[in-house]
Structure formats: structure tokens, C-alpha cells
């Protein structure tokens, strides 16, 4: 069996045991890797309290990880989210996945809670448990300054900051100092386990079934990525921030906690402005020919620049039009290990509560200085930050106005206003990890015209397209490759990579089938965790106020969505559907 290493490593932080297990070939073929592996192992055990010792944290690579396939260094983390209570996966660039794979493992399965803070050093055939007492409390740059010389240049490091240690429910984890497992609070899960960092350093080869064919496909798809105007020009030149003006012009750019969907000052925080006034370089992840990461100059220092989502969350959604302030806010989130989208979404919620006179302290839209002061307080759970550290939903409920929290299943919504993108709204409502665009991004068909342009204000006919994209994204998250490759490549390209790597007879439709299996198993997990059809919803504002678009016609789209998925009125997949997907064991 090529591609996979065929082994996983179970780590028990309570007992200090590290046990190698074989990866069953049937699991590899049915779930691929990454997100698929994570949901498989989460669903095999009882639903656990997210911050308790029994919650499993899975860090998984895919069958292409660690090879020369473009973007094949990524890792996916899967756990039960403390922010949402749903299953949650998060994917990050960097080289952690590649180094994990080169240690000889397809996945790490971490359970338990260490008696004292620890960090792990994993090399082929060996796990070292090291005390992390002196690292505990250090911010992200300090942790990497300490660990990088110990780890060596060829190692990859995953670490949390103070936000994760302090149980901020939207704390993330940082890979190689600059890429982020952002959403859903898995940094808080690591903090609850007293696991400060993991270093992986390996150089074992990844066996390929047909190296000659694999090299040829890699050559071909690299050429496609280098020729495509999105992956070869737009993303390298402007980074993801190039979307600011596009979404704003489409009146789908949420502003001031989604009170409007057009930000008059968008040009001041747009990708064009970022490039002209701040950008001094760019960064790329392992084996990535795109290089969308930004290096910007701020007060004479070269620092990481913000992504589109972060510019929106810490800019337009807070009414802030000063890009230097947004860059500083983004750096603070990175420094403390906070998800920028949820940080911004929670601050925006607080700003609206304050504007309505419901918050006992003042926080005005547009007050950048207050935002810069609050972010460290959130990470430390100090002062007003303690109220913000549980996310927008908890904050709004605390002050008796739950409708002010712009979230779905507890996850703060990202930078697309569904009143201008009806299908994206259905995507937010049905996402298995809560309000998120990366489960099945309708940006392509509703705004970019890829693979074809559909009427973004129409609700009818969106369910089928969304379901296709949900399966496509689940497969990419399991391969584990960057979704940006999808702007230049088709599923057939990924299938060809898989054929050459594994020797199996993979076709494009097989990836759709794996994606559908993963989606339905995630759904089963969430049902088991107490979620149901009533949770497939959006904030009232999006259903009643048009902003610059139309209220989301969610009920009609959901009916179509359930029917296409063969889910009953109770939100459960039909037994025949589960049998068809070979998920009968999980009933």
C-alpha cells in the first residue's frame, strides 16, 4: 500500500504511554486521511466533554502528505469543539503534516490530561515527554524562539499560546510560527490537556506505488498552478485580501456585526492597499507553488500580514478602517493564539450590545485602540476579556440578547454576508463545525463564476451545488491539500495523484463518495452530541433584515438540502443512505 505509512500513534497524556497501531487498510480507503481519519476515530468512541481528558485530539496527515505533491505538507486536527460542542476539524499549512508522516505515522491520537505541562518530541520510533513548565505562559513567538533551536531546522512545531492555556474557547494552535489551526478552539483542548507543543522531526521516505507516474502528475499539475491566473497572479500578488473589494462591491461584505453588508471605507483595508502600502514579501507553505502568505512592514519590522478573513473580522466588522490597526490586531491574535474570525465576531457582538446599552462597559464600533487593549485581556481572561473569552453566543446570552451573536452552532460567522449569497447562507447553517465557509464555499459559483456563475440572490437550486462542494472540500481536507489548488485543478487531478501514490483505482467520483461518507459520519456524531434540525439555523437578522441583498430563504433551501441528502425530518440520514456509504457500523 503506497501513500499511507500504515501506522498511527496513540498517546495517553495521563499514563505517559505511546502505543503504535497499524492503520487498517479499509479505514485508509474509506476515510483517506486528515479530516476523514479524525471523524472516524472520534465517532468510534463515546462523545466526551470537550475540555475533559477523554476528548480525543487527532492530528492527521493524508496519503499525499510528505510527498512532492503541491501543498502536501498540511495537517488536519479533529476534536470535539469546546466553542460549539460539535465535531470540529481545522487544517493548517506549514510542514507539520509532512514531518509527522516522515516520522512514519499517518496520525497522532491524543487523549488524557498531563499532570504537569508537557511538550512532546516525536521522531521515528521514539516519543520524548518533556516538561513544559518554563514554556507555560509564554506567548507564541517566545515559544517558537525557545523550541526552534532545540528542534532543528528540519523539524516542524505545533504550539499553543496563553489563550489556549487559559481555556479561551476560540483559542487556536500555531504551526511553524505562522500558520494556524484557527477555528473551533482546539488550542483550548490542547491547553486543557496541558499540552503546550508537539515537535515532529522525521526523514523516513513515503512509499509511492508508481513513482514515475506520480512525478509526471506532479509536474503536470504544478504547470497548471503556475499558469492559472488565480494561483499564479492574484494570490501571489495580493494574497487572500484581494477579496475585500470584490465582496464589498457585491454588497456581501458584512459590516459592523452584519448590521449592513457594504463598508464604505473598504478601499482603505483592501488587498490593493495592503500591497501598495505594507507588503514587503510573501511566504509559502511546504511544497506550495502559490505563496499566498504576506510579509508586511510595520513600524520598521517585517511581520506576518493579515488574511482576508482577519482583515474583515478585525476591520470592517468592527467598523475599523485603519489598516495598520488591523495588522496590529491580527499580530496580537497570532501572538496569544486566538482565532481572528471568532475574536472579531465576539468583539463585534460586544460593540452592538454596547450600542444598544446592554453592556455594562463601553465599546464603540471603530474604536481600534480599545480593540488592541482587549485582545490580550481576552487571552488572559482578565477584566472585560473574561466575558469575551467564551465567544459571541455566550456573551449575547449573558446580556439577554442572543440574536446579537452572529454565529451558527456557536461558531462566529466568517466574511461573507449570506443576504448577498443565499447558498453561502445554507452552507453556514448546515456546516458540521458551525458557521464556516470552508465546508463548501459558494464563493466560486455565487461570486467568482467558478466553475459556473449562478444567481447569488436566488435560493432555488443551491442545495445540490452546495452538497457537491461540501463533499469536494471534505475530500480535500482528507487528502490533506490546500483548497486553493482547487482553483486550478479538478477532482480528476487529485484522483490521478492518488492512483499513482497508492496504487488503488481512484476516480473523481470516488472522492465525492469519500466526502459524502465523511459528511454523514460528522452528522451522526453531532446528532449523538445532541444536535438536531433546530440547530441548522442562522441568526434572525439574516432571515429578516435585507441589508443590501435579500433575507436568506433558509427554510426552503433546507427542505431541498435534506431531501437531496436523504435525511429525514429529524435530521437523521436514512438507514439506506448509511448502508450505501458503508456507515452501518456507526449506527
Amino acid at each position: 500500500m503506497g501513500g499511507w505509512q500504515g501506522r498511527v500513534l496513540r498517546l495517553d497524556l495521563e499514563s505517559g504511554e505511546a502505543v503504535e497501531e497499524p492503520l487498517p487498510p479499509a479505514v485508509a480507503e474509506k476515510f483517506l486521511g486528515g479530516r476523514g481519519f479524525g471523524v472516524y476515530w472520534l465517532a468510534r468512541q463515546p462523545v466526551a466533554a470537550p475540555l475533559g481528558p477523554d476528548n480525543l485530539l487527532v492530528l492527521a496527515a493524508g496519503p499525499l502528505t510528505g510527498t512532492r505533491a503541491p501543498t502536501a505538507g498540511r495537517v488536519t486536527a479533529v476534536t470535539r469543539s469546546p466553542l460549539t460542542g460539535t465535531i470540529c476539524d481545522s487544517s493548517a499549512g506549514g510542514a507539520f503534516g509532512a514531518r509527522l508522516k516522515r516520522c512514519g505515522y499517518d496520525a497522532l491520537l491524543v487523549r488524557g490530561r498531563a499532570s504537569e505541562p508537557v511538550y512532546l518530541v516525536i521522531t521515528p520510533g521514539r516519543v520524548e515527554w518533556r516538561q513544559a513548565g518554563s514554556l507555560w505562559g509564554q506567548d507564541v513567538p517566545a515559544v517558537f524562539r525557545t523550541l526552534r533551536p532545540l528542534a532543528g531546522r528540519s523539524a516542524s512545531i505545533l504550539a499553543i499560546g496563553p489563550a489556549g492555556e487559559n481555556g479561551v474557547l476560540f483559542a487556536g494552535a500555531v504551526v511553524d510560527g505562522r500558520r494556524h489551526l484557527g477555528r473551533g478552539g482546539l488550542g483550548a483542548v490542547m491547553g486543557a490537556k496541558r499540552l503546550k507543543a508537539i515537535i515532529v522531526a522525521g526523514d523516513r521516505p513515503v512509499h509511492l506505488a508508481d513513482r514515475h507516474a506520480f512525478d509526471f502528475v506532479c509536474y503536470e499539475i504544478t504547470k497548471l498552478l503556475e499558469a492559472n491566473p488565480i494561483t499564479a497572479q492574484a494570490l501571489p500578488l495580493f494574497g487572500t485580501a484581494v477579496l475585500v473589494n470584490l465582496l464589498n462591491q457585491a454588497r456581501s461584505f458584512p459590516t459592523c456585526n452584519f448590521r449592513t453588508s457594504y463598508f464604505p471605507a473598504a478601499e482603505a483595508i483592501a488587498g490593493e492597499r495592503l500591497r501598495a502600502a505594507f507588503t514587503v514579501g510573501r511566504t509559502a507553505c511546504y511544497a506550495c507553488p502559490i505563496g499566498c502568505g504576506r510579509v508586511v512592514s510595520l513600524a520598521g519590522s517585517r511581520v506576518a500580514g493579515p488574511e482576508y478573513e482577519s482583515i474583515w473580522a478585525l476591520g470592517a466588522n468592527l467598523g475599523i478602517a485603519d489598516l495598520a490597526t488591523v495588522i496590529r490586531a491580527n499580530l496580537l491574535c497570532n501572538r496569544y493564539g486566538l482565532d481572528t474570525i471568532s475574536t472579531g465576531g465576539t468583539l463585534a457582538c460586544a460593540m452592538e450590545l454596547s450600542a444598544r446599552g446592554l453592556l455594562p462597559w463601553e465599546l464603540r464600533f471603530g474604536d481600534g485602540d480599545a480593540v488592541l487593549a482587549l485582545i490580550p485581556q481576552i487571552a488572559r481572561r482578565e477584566g472585560p476579556g473574561a466575558e469575551l473569552a467564551d465567544g459571541a453566543r455566550a456573551l449575547a446570552e449573558r446580556y439577554g440578547a442572543p440574536e446579537v451573536a452572529m454565529q451558527a452552532k456557536g461558531l462566529e460567522l466568517p466574511a461573507y454576508d449570506p443576504r448577498g449569497m443565499q447558498g453561502q447562507g445554507l452552507g453556514f447553517a448546515t456546516s458540521n463545525r458551525g458557521g464556516c465557509h470552508l465546508r463548501g464555499n459558494m464563493l466560486g459559483p455565487e461570486i467568482l463564476g467558478a466553475p459556473k456563475m449562478v444567481d447569488r440572490l436566488q435560493a432555488e437550486g443551491k442545495a445540490g451545488l452546495l452538497i457537491y462542494l461540501q463533499h469536494n472540500h471534505a475530500a480535500l481536507d482528507s487528502l490533506v491539500l490546500c483548497k486553493f489548488t482547487g482553483f486550478a485543478l479538478r477532482e480528476e487531478h487529485y484522483a490521478r495523484l492518488l492512483r499513482a501514490a497508492t496504487g488503488g483505482d481512484w476516480r473523481a467520483q470516488d472522492l465525492q463518495r469519500v466526502g459524502e461518507r465523511i459528511w454523514n459520519l460528522e452528522r451522526l456524531y453531532n446528532l449523538q452530541a445532541g444536535f438536531g434540525p433546530a440547530d441548522d439555523r442562522l441568526p434572525r437578522r439574516l432571515l429578516e433584515e435585507p441589508a443590501e441583498g435579500r433575507p436568506v430563504e433558509l427554510a426552503a433551501m433546507l427542505r431541498e438540502y435534506y431531501r437531496f441528502r436523504r435525511w429525514g425530518p429529524d435530521g437523521r440520514p436514512a438507514p439506506t443512505k448509511l448502508a450505501e456509504l458503508e456507515l452501518g457500523d456507526f449506527l
Binding site: Q233, V242, N245, L246, G271
Partner: protein
């Protein structure tokens, strides 16, 4: 008639010198004009444009543009 044209990202290299942040007024000699004709009047290569919005709504190449409309023109781009 007059139109307000906004060019974005790599297309700003085609904006006239007096344009600010890719935005300029376009004088159109005839009384009606299509998206396709606007692209030609702006000197934009056809292959360089993927999305055109007229007053915030995506418009096809043969869509007719009214006086005083705001025309936003984008090259291939993505992100997320």
C-alpha cells in the same frame, strides 16, 4: 453619457493617470452601451476580466448599462 468605472487588483494598471484607486469617469459617446463595449473603451484585454458588476450585480457581456451606473471590473481572483 457618463459612467463611473472602478478597476481592481491587476486591472488598475489600465486605469488612466488621473484615476484614484482605480476609479474614473468614462464618457460614452452613444446613449446606451454594453458591458463588452465598456471593456473595449477602457482598453481592457478580454482575457484579463472575469467579473463585471453593474451597481453591485454581476452583469453579462451583452448587458446594457444605464447612465450614471457604477461599473466594477475584476480580473480572475480568489481567496478565502
Amino acid at each position: 453619457m457618463k459612467l463611473k468605472v472602478k478597476l481592481f487588483a491587476t486591472l488598475r494598471q489600465y486605469a488612466p493617470a488621473e484615476a484614484r484607486e482605480g476609479e474614473f469617469a468614462l464618457d460614452v459617446p452613444q446613449k446606451s452601451v454594453t458591458v463588452e463595449e465598456v471593456l473595449r473603451l477602457c482598453g481592457l484585454p478580454e482575457h484579463a476580466v472575469t467579473v463585471v458588476m453593474v451597481n453591485g450585480m454581476v452583469a453579462a457581456a451583452n448587458a446594457v448599462i444605464e447612465e450614471d451606473a457604477e461599473v466594477s471590473i475584476f480580473p480572475p481572483l480568489a481567496g478565502g
